[in-house]
Structures are given as C-alpha cells and as structure tokens.
C-alpha cells in the first residue's frame, strides 16, 4: 500500500459519523462508480435553508469512508450557500491531508454534497 493515512483519516475510518440513510431525505446525491472502487450516497434534510441532518453510505477505501464521514460533520448546521462552498480541498484539509493518490479517486464527498443540494433545489423548484 503506497498510501499512509493521517491519524484523523484513520480515526474517521474507524469510527465513521452519520452512517445510514434518511428515508424522507430532501436531497440525495449519488456519485462514483463501483468499477472504480468508490461510490458514495449522501442524504440531506433541509429546514429553513439549513442542513439539519445528513447521512451517508459509502463503498470504498479508507479515504472514501473518512471523507464521507468528514463531510457530514462539515455540512451539518450550514446554510445551503455555505455548504455549496465546501471543496474537496476543504475536506482533505479537515482530515489533515490525504495521500496524493487518494486526492482524486477517493475524495468524492464534496461532489456528493453538491449533488444532494442540486437534488434538493430541483425538488424545491418542482414544488414551487
């Protein structure tokens, strides 16, 4: 294994936060491809423009699971506008960095969040 993970990545991988699904989610983001070894499904609940609940399910390596766990911590309680600004780099930085090889293939969490927000906004627009 070429990758050496930070303690923070290992800690989130060992004890991932907010694993699960939200059956009545306001937005769902599904990214990745099992062929590539990384898939992330992210669920959000939104109240008054604030992400009040967030859960994930991930198929992937240690980094994929740790970034999924981290994004749930970063996004919870944020407004939609704030959440949209969370970047891949922000996720990696919050985990004290990721091995270079993992920066692209396993750092899908911010993409999943953006997809979930897109889904939420589309649903909201459809209702309006």
């Amino acid at each position: 294994m070429e990758a050496v993970y930070s303690d923070k990545v290992m800690e989130h991988f060992a004890n991932p936060r907010n694993v699960g699904e939200i059956p009545d989610a306001d937005g769902v983001g599904k990214v990745g491809n099992p062929t590539c070894g990384d898939v992330m499904w992210l669920y959000i609940k939104v109240k008054n423009n604030i992400i009040t609940d967030i859960k994930f399910k991930t198929f992937g390596c240690g980094a994929a699971i740790a970034t999924s766990s981290m994004i749930t911590e970063l996004a919870r309680g944020k407004t939609i506008e704030e959440a949209k600004k969370i970047s891949r780099q922000d996720v990696a930085d919050s985990l004290d960095g990721l091995p270079p090889v993992k920066m692209h293939c396993s750092n899908l969490a911010s993409d999943a969040l953006r997809e979930a927000i897109k889904d939420y906004e589309a649903k909201k627009a459809a209702k309006a």
Partner: protein, 407 residues
C-alpha cells in the same frame, strides 16, 4: 490511539507473500560478515578469501535447494533483478534485440514490465490467458511458440491467488522446441519442492526475503549453456553476468535461509497447508457472499485468497489491522492506481468483484490459535463495512452510475 489498539494484543502477521521475518539463525550467520569478515570476495588477501569462502558456501546451499550446480547460481539484488536479467538478458543475447517472448497474464510486474519494455525495441510478446482458477494451459503456451521465440517465462506459483502452474509440462514443451524456459519462483521457494532438472527449467528467479532471508538479495539460476547477456556491466563479478561487489552478508543470509527451507520444507508445508485449508473452508461458510480466489488444490500451502461482495479490500485490510491482523488486498486503492489487480481481472472477475479481495498468506510461525482468532474477527469486520456500504442483496453493485474512473 491506533498504536494502542494494535499493542493491546499480540499482532498477527498474515502477509508472508509480501515479506517474512529474518530467522534468528539467519541473522546470526550474517553478523560476522558485517563486523569481522568484511572483506571483498574479489580481494586475494585473507579478508577477501574468507568472504569468498562464505560466498561459495552460500552458492552451494542455494544450488542444493534447486538441485542445481553451484556454478549455475548468480547472486542478484532480489527477485525483480533476477527476472529482469533473465528476460532482458535472453532477449539481448549477442546484441540480438529481436524475436518473440511468451508469458502469462498473471505474472508479477517484475516479469510483465521488462517484457513491455522490450516491446519498445521491436520485440513481440504473447501473453497467454489463464482459467478462472488461475491455471495456465500448457497447450496454450505451445500454440504461442513461433520460430523466433527466444524465451518462455511462466511463474511457478502466483503471489496473489497462490495458483501453482504446471511448470514441468511447460518446461518439457520448451525443451523439446529448444527454447529457454524461465520461471519466477519467488513465491514458491520454501513452500513447494522445485527441481530444475526434473522440471526442465533453464532459468529461475528467487528472492531471499520471501523465505526468511534478508531483503535486497536474491539469485537467478542459469542452466549451463543458457544464452544470456548481462544487464549490469562493470567489474565482471558473478562470471560476468552480474557486476557489482556481491552483498556478502546478504548472500550468507540467503544461503542459510535456503538451507533451512530445504531442511524444514516438509513439516512447515504440512502445518501451513492444514491452517490454509481450515481458512478456505471456514470463510465461505461463515460469511454470506464470500468466495475463494484461485485453484482449490493446486495452490501454495500458505495462500488463502478471498473476495467479498459489496465491500472494498483496503477497508478490510485496515479494519483487520485495527484488530492486530496484517493482511493485503488487490483492490485498486491498494495498488496506487485506479485499476484493481491484473491477476484478479485475468481470472475473469469484474472490477467490482476484484475490489473486494483479501489475501491471507501464512508463514511457518503462524498457529492454529491465530487462524482461530482471524475467523472469529473476520465476520464482524465484513459486516461493519457492509453496514457502511450502499450495496447489498437488494441493491446490487452496478457499473451504471458515474462515468470514467479518472476524475
């Protein structure tokens, strides 16, 4: 925190195909060649002579392990260099640099990459496929032979799935056609008997650290009369086939490890085989949607290779590491590329299946208790990762979502 988890109990090493512990007797044999007998074996004074004597003793031990003549053993820096010397050396003989080579889909990168390199100079390579349990069909090798074939290279046993190849049959075919036959036996040494004469082998690569010798030293057996060009040029050591001052202490360690491998082959193989069989029987029974990779019987005594649906191998290796068990995987995440192991794909597995692989490789020191602990811990670890995974029986993995793997 992680160090605490790992030190809470004795660690279990189940990654012997990656490397092995140097046995105390091996280390003891090496020590004098660092401290007192540090001469250069090429020197004619007493310091040089005692190093030379040790070198030749080690050569005899390695030869004895293979049923070769000591003069047919060339010391190298390890398995990779031995493979490179055999392949490039055969292709470049007398500046030829043309012709055709035959190998298989499941070879180690140390064989496939030199072959690929030679393609840049106009050589052609046929890569023979394997069956779903990883076996090469000698008939396929025979069919691939051309008038200009300069080398056939087929590994003795696979490093990931443990499948043992029919090298004797392939060697016989190669010999009948007058083509040099090379085998990468890096994983086979100390785990199965190899007789270069009976198996019709012209060149064989081995590496000390895979059978309780030190890292950074190996050997290439080169049958007398084999046409080979050196790839490292200099002072002409090792009969001109491998210049560079020989790593005397390392070679002494290799010699000792070879001696022990020969002496203990039977009892250690029997023990490892019993533990291996226990694992490959128990895992599919204990865990739903789990499978054994490789051949059921034609496999290395120390290799148990599995795969699990819905989860990814690196996560599995890390979770087992938390429990103090060291294993490995052929998932893409572990290879540092976006592709899972070429060996698993060669079996016909999909990328998704290959990502969920786990390799457990035993050593002579492993015990029944350790295997018992592994079998106790594994189902929970797999369940934990399956709880995190979006995939399960109802939601199977499909390659439909997302686009290319390169993002």
């Amino acid at each position: 925190m992680l160090a605490m988890i790992a030190s809470a109990r004795k660690r279990i090493y189940f990654d012997h195909s990656a490397t092995t512990q140097v046995l105390p007797e091996v280390l003891e044999a090496m020590k004098p060649y660092f401290l007192d007998k540090y001469g250069n074996p090429s020197s004619i004074h007493s310091f040089g002579r005692e190093a030379k004597v040790a070198l030749e003793e080690a050569r005899k031990s390695v030869a004895a392990l293979l049923n070769a003549d000591p003069m047919e053993i060339v010391f190298t820096s390890g398995g990779t260099e031995s493979d490179n010397l055999a392949i490039k050396g055969a292709a470049m003989y007398k500046g030829r640099m043309k012709g055709h080579l035959i190998t298989t889909k499941v070879e180690h990168h140390a064989v496939l990459e030199p072959m690929d390199f030679l393609k840049r100079f106009g050589l052609e390579v046929t890569i023979v496929p394997v069956s779903s349990d990883g076996l090469v069909d000698p008939g396929d090798v025979e069919k691939a032979i051309r008038n200009d074939t300069v080398l056939i290279s087929v590994m003795a046993a696979n490093n990931e799935i443990g499948t043992i190849q029919p090298i004797r049959e392939i060697g016989k075919i190669a010999q009948a056609r007058g083509i040099p036959f090379h085998t990468d036996a890096v994983q086979a040494m100390g785990k199965m008997p190899i007789d270069v004469k009976a198996d019709h082998i012209d060149m064989l690569s081995l590496s000390a650290h895979k059978f309780h010798g030190p890292k950074g030293v190996g050997a290439l057996y080169v049958k007398r009369g084999t046409h080979l060009e050196p790839i490292i040029h200099g002072g002409g050591q090792e009969r001109g086939l491998r210049s560079s001052t020989v790593n005397v202490a390392g070679v002494v360690g290799l010699g000792k490890a070879a001696e022990i491998a020969k002496r203990d082959l039977e009892p250690t193989s029997d023990r490892m085989k019993a533990l291996r069989d226990k694992m490959i029987k128990a895992v599919p029974e204990l865990i739903p949607r789990s499978y054994v990779n490789g051949h059921k019987t034609k496999r290395l005594v120390n290799n148990a290779s599995f795969r699990f649906d819905f989860i990814e191998g690196e996560g599995l290796v890390l979770q087992l590491d938390f429990k103090g068990i060291a294993t490995s995987t052929g998932s893409a995440c572990s290879t540092g590329s976006l592709e899972p192991s070429h060996v698993l794909l060669a079996l016909g597995l999909t990328h998704e299946q290959a990502h969920g692989s786990l390799r457990v490789t035993l050593g002579r020191e492993n015990t029944e208790e350790e295997v018992g602990y592994f079998l106790e811990v594994l189902p929970g670890v797999v369940s934990k990762l399956r709880e995190i995974s979006p995939f399960n029986e109802e939601t199977p993995m499909g390659a439909s979502e997302g686009g290319s793997c390169v993002q």
